[in-house]
């Protein structure tokens, strides 16, 4: 058996718990022991499920370690990391959870996982100086409406019909905190410097932020927000987002 064929057979046996041991293995006793091959199988599965548990710690707390392990195993069975960068593993785990039958009883679970995926992405994202309010203050007021703001490289905006930010925050201490109101939330995950921050935005700013993150101009985003909520305060929303470090740069007019 050539090298490539042998390694392929080893990998196939590794990935399927009920597969027979690959041929050609042996040991000091002269035979291949299944318990020994199981060490390799276990390393692969435990390594990947542990990586998911570390990244999705609140998700794990919400469903319990045993349920999480089963869900992570089901995910890892068909989705090996596409590269040795295990720091990226699980980027699409939230989408998997959304389609995972046994998790349907917790409709907020995929969005909590999305928040946690965004947290790790923010942690490893490129560094950038956040856009300062002064950059906008120097512009003529009529130039503002056509301005497009580029999100900070670390920033993710998550709009959820569930209070995902409150759920996440409730699990950060040693004791579970209360969730005051069960309502939709728009959450900004961003790392303007070295600490990753999770902010729940004021409800009336959610659509405005979403339009800006989608590449809309300040004018269009403000108009949409005002249409949705006539009490929307453009200045307060913009200053608020800038103070959180949500953006990194500006562009005049439509992005090519």
């Amino acid at each position: 058996m050539d090298f490539a064929t042998g390694q392929h057979a080893f990998a196939q046996a590794l990935l399927h718990a009920d597969a027979p041991l690959p041929v050609g293995l042996t040991g000091a006793s002269g035979t291949a022991d299944a318990a020994r091959f199981a060490v390799y199988r276990n390393n692969v599965h435990v390594g990947l499920t542990r990586a998911l548990a570390q990244r999705f710690g609140v998700t794990e707390q919400l469903v319990g370690a045993e349920f999480f392990a089963g869900m992570a195993r089901a995910y890892a069975q068909d989705r090996k990391p596409s590269s040795p960068l295990i720091i990226n593993y699980g980027d699409d785990f939230p989408d998997f959870i959304a389609g995972f039958g046994p998790a349907q009883a917790l409709p907020y679970l995929p969005d909590v996982a999305r928040l946690e995926a965004a947290w790790t992405q923010a942690y490893h994202a490129a560094d950038a100086t956040p856009l300062a309010l002064a950059r906008l203050a120097s512009l003529a007021p009529e130039a503002l409406a056509g301005l497009v703001l580029f999100p900070h490289p670390s920033a993710t905006l998550l709009r959820s019909p569930h209070p995902v930010g409150a759920i996440w925050a409730a699990h950060q201490g040693t004791e579970l905190a209360d969730i005051e109101a069960w309502q939709p939330e728009t959450v900004l995950v961003v790392r303007p410097e070295m600490a990753v921050n999770v902010h729940v935005l004021p409800a009336q700013d959610g659509l405005f932020a979403a339009r800006l993150f989608a590449g809309g101009t300040l004018g269009a985003a403000a108009e949409a927000a005002l249409t949705e909520q006539p009490t929307f305060d453009f200045g307060a929303a913009l200053v608020g987002l800038l103070s959180l470090g949500a953006f990194a740069d500006i562009h005049h007019g439509d992005v090519p």
Partner: protein, 304 residues
């Protein structure tokens, strides 16, 4: 080089080696210890990081590694190149390694005699390969390609294994030595892996150390193993990196030092990472063994 004068001069900071890391105990740099290391600046010979944990674009990993690398010698240890794969090396990954090495200029770069990538993706484990003329040619080609890509020598680490391949025709030490001879790479001698593999395959660990080409060793690794039994009830050691170095591995390490002389030695503790003082105590234990080995050598040299 005047070895005695050099060792005397560096009695406090450590003993320089040709590989660049000081011949002292080093520790893995863990995110939970970043702040403590920068504030307390513990007396540690060097720090080692897994290359793949520093391949993000930015953020705290780079921020802290930059600061720590400014204060301590650095060893970069790859866990994802898959040098022992039958298929080709991942050129994108080689580029990431080269960029990291260019950025941080580590005193040492090491990888494993193992494979971890297959067409199904990255398997996140260090998997074994048979030792045959065909695999020797493939591994040598991969080491050569890697060294060319990163523009420097790498140290190749002996694996811990749980099974053997019936088709193997080359002894593991001969295999490693042949790769080193063909490619000019150095070797990383993981003494815990020696204990794990030798117990698992009923070989004599001391005999393994005795035969190892110590002149090629640029770094030593130590770690704690777990122990269980296989289906036949035989001892089965598992390379676990989640506990202090076991007594028998420490004794084997002392035996190794008698052959190698003082060598940069990393304590690997990657799972259930303890508070820093516990890790540091392991480094102090290892530094004491290195120092007593250096002292014995000086006595021998003066007597001779």
């Amino acid at each position: 080089m005047n070895a005695v004068a050099c060792e005397d001069f560096h009695a406090r900071e450590g003993y320089p080696t040709l590989k660049g890391l000081p011949a002292r105990a080093g520790l893995g740099l863990k995110p939970e210890h970043y702040s403590h290391v920068l504030e307390a600046r513990p007396d540690v010979g060097f720090f080692e990081v897994h290359a793949e944990n520093y391949m993000g674009a930015g953020g705290p990993p780079h921020h802290y590694l930059e600061a720590v690398a400014g204060l301590y010698p650095l060893s970069l240890h790859g866990v994802g190149l898959s040098i022992g794969a039958a298929g080709p090396l991942d050129t994108a990954h080689l580029r990431r390694l080269r960029d990291l090495i260019d950025r941080y200029r580590p005193q040492s770069f090491s990888e494993h005699l193992a494979w971890s990538t297959h067409d199904t993706g990255f398997l996140n484990d260090l998997l074994p390969l048979p030792y045959t003329p065909e695999t020797l040619a493939r591994v040598s080609q991969h080491v050569d390609e890697a060294q060319q890509a990163i523009g420097r020598q790498l140290l190749l680490e002996n694996p811990s294994t749980y099974l053997l391949f019936a088709e193997s025709t080359i002894d593991e030490i001969d295999f490693l030595e042949a790769v080193a001879a063909r490619t000019g790479c150095g070797l990383l001698l993981d003494v815990n892996n020696v204990m794990v593999s030798c117990v698992n395959h009923r070989l004599d660990p001391a005999a393994y150390i005795d035969r190892f080409p110590v002149e090629r060793v640029g770094e030593i690794h130590l770690a704690g193993y777990d122990e269980t039994v296989d289906g036949a009830g035989d001892r089965l050691l598992i390379d676990a990196h989640g506990s202090p170095v076991k007594t028998d591995v420490m004794a084997l390490y002392d035996l190794t030092l008698a052959r190698t002389g003082p060598v940069p030695t990393l304590i690997e503790w990657d799972n259930d990472v303890p508070a820093f003082p516990t890790l540091h105590a392991e480094a102090v234990r290892v530094d004491a063994l290195i120092a007593s080995q250096a002292a014995r050598r000086n006595v021998l040299k003066r007597a001779g």
